[in-house]
């Protein structure tokens, strides 16, 4: 490293990488070494500013970085090698793209002169990752490396966040070039919006003020906009007194303990949230994208309501559902603009209509859609989550999940009062997300309680990351709802395929307690409702990684549910279903859908 006459600094490509990460405020990176990133690993060895976390599979590296990013609001950073290192990262990158999580993934590449030669561990990384990243770069000039890395961080965190890949050939890592620091100049082409159009905001606030049956429908965009946006959302919602529901991704931005909260909406959302969405006359969508898990049958989605949609990404607006008042802008700014406009208009709202609306909502609430039958000899999975919530609610807790029934139960029975506490794979629905994500969360929050609510089948997809947790003394808790089935697959086979459980039974399961011991972690098992609380308390006080094998009812299904091809106001309820109901739940038409 040497300073030149004009003050710019000369260093190798590998040193540029570390300097750029340091200047971007990066503390932790998740990675796995290999031939094409050895120069960067050599630099890592010679410093102690950045902590590198060695994962056990590159998919885990990206999920860990996602967990880190989602729980801190910072950009997660990944370092992997060329070829299989990059292809293994693809699932994680796609997951981050679908859920709009800021990640910078540095991949090694074969030396420049070998690119295109089918060299050992070569793959077309930028080609493969082009559709699963927000943007990607192949750096062929060491003098541009610093600038590209800074731009990668800017793109990853700006506007609608997402994953960015920087592919660096090995010869560039060795070459000497000029380091440039972070520039404050505006990007030449990518400048996402911040403030919303004031006229649109005025129109939206007027529509809200004149509403008789209003509802807020919020999503992950509010959480991505930072904790201040969640604070503003609370102010806006309380100021109006209107009911609020949220997507899976948005849980925690509004406190679940509040009386205006209706619970999650969508396929496994609450009866009250979905019915309120169906019957509302003004819908205020903030930072959500009218995903198919949310809307149900599109032609019957909230007929007759005036729809307001706030999104930083204009391509999310009018994609699935036609909206009446689109507002392109960052939630962090637009919600404050809405508050200001509401205060300025100081509207006299129709209090009588709102009272009737809340009355109606109360009748839906009284349906108690999350009620389930408890059993004295078997742990019901819903009960396990309820107890886990009750016994951890006063602690500093972060939750990650895998994907499936347990994920939906976690969303229904674990309640979040703060943003950035809930890490789950929403868009892509990636099995194996939970353990590595928990590793990333715990790395950022060493003293907090981090629990991965898991299923026994899904957890096996990335089980090796427990080894990472052990290596770095990360006391993550893997809380497995073990029903010996890929539960959501089994549920759909029951609903759609006459109960023919094709390959959804988890045969030859490991003994999870012994498995934990083999990894030098701690294994705990609970089989009866009576022993559950003590076992959970033991898990919480264990200062090491724990695999908790919670044996639950094998046939419990996740309800309520909007069956495929149905509308919001046509939900299947769990407590009074007969076998015949289940057989006829989904129409012939609906069976083709996902």
């Amino acid at each position: 490293m040497s300073a030149t006459e004009n003050g710019s600094v000369k260093m190798t490509g590998a040193q540029i990488v570390l300097q750029a990460l340091a200047d971007q405020g990066v503390d932790h990176i998740f990675g796995y070494p290999g031939g094409a990133v050895l120069p960067i690993y050599d630099e890592l060895f010679q410093q102690d500013r950045l902590q590198h976390v060695l994962v056990r599979h590159e998919q885990g590296a990206v999920h860990a970085a996602e967990g880190y990013a989602r729980s801190t609001g910072k950009v997660g950073v990944v370092l992997v090698t060329s070829g299989p290192g990059a292809t293994n990262a693809v699932t994680g990158l796609t997951d981050a793209l679908m859920d709009s999580i800021p990640v910078v993934c540095i991949t090694g590449q074969v030396p420049t002169h070998l690119i295109g030669n089918d060299a050992f561990q070569e793959c077309d990384t930028v080609g493969i990752t082009r559709p699963c990243t927000k943007h990607n770069y192949l750096v062929k000039d060491v003098d541009q490396l610093a600038e590209v890395l800074h731009e990668a961080f800017y793109v990853a965190r700006s506007g609608r966040p997402g994953p960015v890949v920087v592919d660096i050939p090995k010869d560039i890592q060795f070459m000497t070039g000029t380091y440039k620091g972070v520039s404050n100049s505006q990007h030449k082409s990518y400048v996402p919006p911040r403030q919303g159009d004031p006229a649109a905001i005025e129109a939206a606030v007027s529509a809200m003020a004149n509403a008789k049956r209003p509802i807020f429908y919020t999503g992950g965009g509010v959480i991505n906009a930072g904790p201040a946006a969640s604070e503003s959302l609370r102010e806006l919602v309380r100021m109006t007194g209107y009911p609020i529901t949220s997507t899976l991704m948005g849980l925690g931005s509004y406190p679940a303990s509040d009386k205006q909260w209706l619970g999650m909406l969508g396929m496994h959302g609450t009866f009250e949230a979905n019915n309120a969405m169906h019957d509302c006359d003004v819908m205020v969508c903030i930072g959500a994208r009218f995903d198919d898990r949310i809307t149900g049958r599109l032609d019957a989605f909230s007929p007759g309501s005036t729809k307001i949609h706030v999104d930083v990404d204009p391509s999310s607006i009018n994609k699935n559902v036609h909206v009446d008042i689109p507002i392109v802008g960052d939630c962090a700014y637009v919600i404050d603009q809405m508050i200001a406009a509401w205060k300025a208009q100081n509207p006299s709202v129709d209090k009588e209509a709102h009272a009737r609306w809340w009355e109606q909502i109360e009748t839906w609430r009284k349906r108690k859609c999350l009620h389930y039958r408890k059993k004295s000899d078997v742990i019901m999975p819903q009960y396990a989550i309820e107890r886990l919530f009750a016994l951890t609610r006063d602690r500093d807790t972060y939750i990650t999940t895998e994907v499936g029934q347990h994920q939906m139960w976690a969303a229904q029975y674990f309640h979040f009062d703060e943003p950035n506490r809930w890490m789950t794979s929403g868009g892509l629905g990636t099995m194996g997300y939970g353990i590595p994500a928990a590793v990333g969360v715990q790395m950022a929050h060493r003293d907090s309680l981090v629990v991965d609510i898991a299923g026994e089948a899904r957890v096996l997809m990335t089980m090796q990351e427990i080894s990472t947790a052990v290596q770095y003394d990360l006391p993550i808790k893997i809380f497995i709802l073990n029903n010996e089935y890929m539960g959501m697959v089994r549920q759909w086979q029951e609903l759609l395929h006459g109960g023919r459980y094709s390959h959804s039974y988890s045969e030859a399961l490991p003994d999870f307690v012994k498995l934990a011991e083999a990894y030098h972690a701690v294994g705990i098992r609970a089989e009866k409702p009576g022993e559950l609380d003590d076992a959970i308390l033991e898990m919480i006080k264990t200062p090491k990684p724990v695999i908790f094998d919670c044996r639950v009812d094998k046939h419990a299904n996740c309800f309520p549910m909007i069956p495929s091809g149905e509308a919001h106001n046509n939900m299947l309820m769990g407590d009074d279903l007969t076998e015949e109901d289940i057989e006829n739940a989904i129409s012939e038409e609906g069976k083709v859908m996902v």
């Binding site: 930028v126 080609g127 082009r130 559709p131 927000k134 943007h135 192949l138 793109v155 506007g159 609608r160 030449k188 082409s189 990518y190 198919d292 809307t295 149900g296 049958r297 599109l298 032609d299 990404d313 204009p314 391509s315 607006i317 009018n318 994609k319 699935n320 559902v321 036609h322 495929s564 091809g565 149905e566 038409e589 083709v592 859908m593 996902v594």
Partner: protein, 180 residues
């Protein structure tokens, strides 16, 4: 406005398709065309015609002209999806922003003798196509104009011994003094 497909609704709603010419200003860097084409194939949009070339050497900018068809909602999506690609500077829908000039160039090879050959030459003159290569058995005509004109010319050449056609795709620009 009709809804597009979803995981919940099978029937494809009947909707009118529109053809739009979209002009996109991009950084002239490796992979940028792949990003644009990948967006169209990945999201199932149509490309009727695509023309690309560097237009501002100093600024390293290329202009991509895309002719596409879709429902109004899909056309909106295409523009918004293009606009969020990082190396894209601007997206302009020439079809909605007033009068535009659209031109395409085609090279048309026709082989034949006798009356057919004479007729081909006569039609070429009527269409203001120029013969840029010829032998006693063939012509290569160069023709410029709107797509419809080129299509008409090619159709007329069909019975006169059309061998092959190469077309550039549409280049388009808005009328008037303003920049896009």
């Amino acid at each position: 406005m009709g809804q597009p497909g979803s995981a919940y609704s099978l029937e494809k709603p009947e909707q009118s398709l529109e053809t739009h010419t979209i002009s996109v200003l991009v950084d002239n860097e490796p992979g940028v065309l792949a990003r644009v084409i990948g967006l169209f194939s990945g999201r199932g949009y149509n490309i009727e015609s695509l023309t690309v070339s560097e237009t501002e050497h100093e600024a390293h900018l290329s202009r991509i002209t895309i002719v596409t068809t879709g429902t109004p909602m899909v056309i909106e999506q295409i523009k918004n999806q293009l606009d969020r690609l990082v190396p894209i500077h601007s997206v302009t829908d020439l079809t909605v922003c007033g009068e535009t000039i659209e031109r395409e160039l085609a090279l048309v090879k026709v082989a034949g003798v006798g009356e057919k050959r004479v007729e081909a030459l006569r039609l070429a003159e009527a269409f203001r196509a120029t013969a840029i290569d010829a032998s006693l058995e063939h012509f290569v005509f160069q023709i410029t104009g709107r797509q419809s004109k080129i299509e008409q010319f090619v159709a007329l050449m069909q019975p006169l011994g059309l061998v092959e056609v190469c077309r550039t795709g549409v280049a388009a620009i808005a009328r008037g003094a303003e920049r896009m």
